[in-house]
Amino acid sequence: MDLKNNIELMETFKEEAQGLIEEIRKDLCILNSQLRNNNYELRTVNSTATNSQLKILFELFRSAHTLKGTALCVGFHELGEVAAVITDIFRDAKDGKLKIKAEIISLLSEGVEACDKFLDEEEVAGHKKLLKRIKDLNRETYLKEIPD
């Protein structure tokens, strides 16, 4: 069963994935503008985050998670790989393990644009480096900044 030759399935996937990418872009923009009102920091532990900010973080997580799952299931592995590391960041953000900063949003936006290119089956120069930068962010940078 070659899924990429199933035209109807591919059309459904591309339409859904494009919608999810648009949702993530929109919510990242909202989050970014709210950061300006919080001295460019948003922490979900003890918490400067409002309910509406937490709701946005949850929606970002859900959109990225769905993008990851669908992409991997239909054989868009590179897109799924980038969506997976973005999903991990949003999960930690909504769970209060991550202090959102403007540079994190900027890096995640780069990831989202890479997803968009992979969806159009374009090459993305340096995508392995981008993956590493997002993964390193997950492993090292922000965890040091969050007090117990």
Partner: protein, 121 residues
Amino acid sequence: MAKNILIADDSATIRKLVSYTLKFGGYNVVTANDGKQAWEILRKGKFDMTIIDILMPVMDGFQLLSKIKNDEKLKNTPCVILTTEGDEASEQKGMELGADSFMAKPFQPQQLIAKVEEFIK
């Protein structure tokens, strides 16, 4: 007679992929976009199995699973939960709520058929 399977997932792609695969395997498939819609369909129809995604709007997969396993009429319907590879916390919670099995995304079509055949011959 072909067996009836309900799939609850908010992703149109996954609904189509699962439907396509299971219809190819000779099953009747009904789809729901979220847990609430799935619950309404389950109460009205007769299903031999349900396949449930966790992260859905309105009513998530855990809530749906809990309702099914606490319902006298529906509690024996096999429920397979779609999880993400390595998500042990979700599997643990699913087991506690009475899930019959798990299927990690991404999956191959033949893996899905094999999983269904564990419960429906």
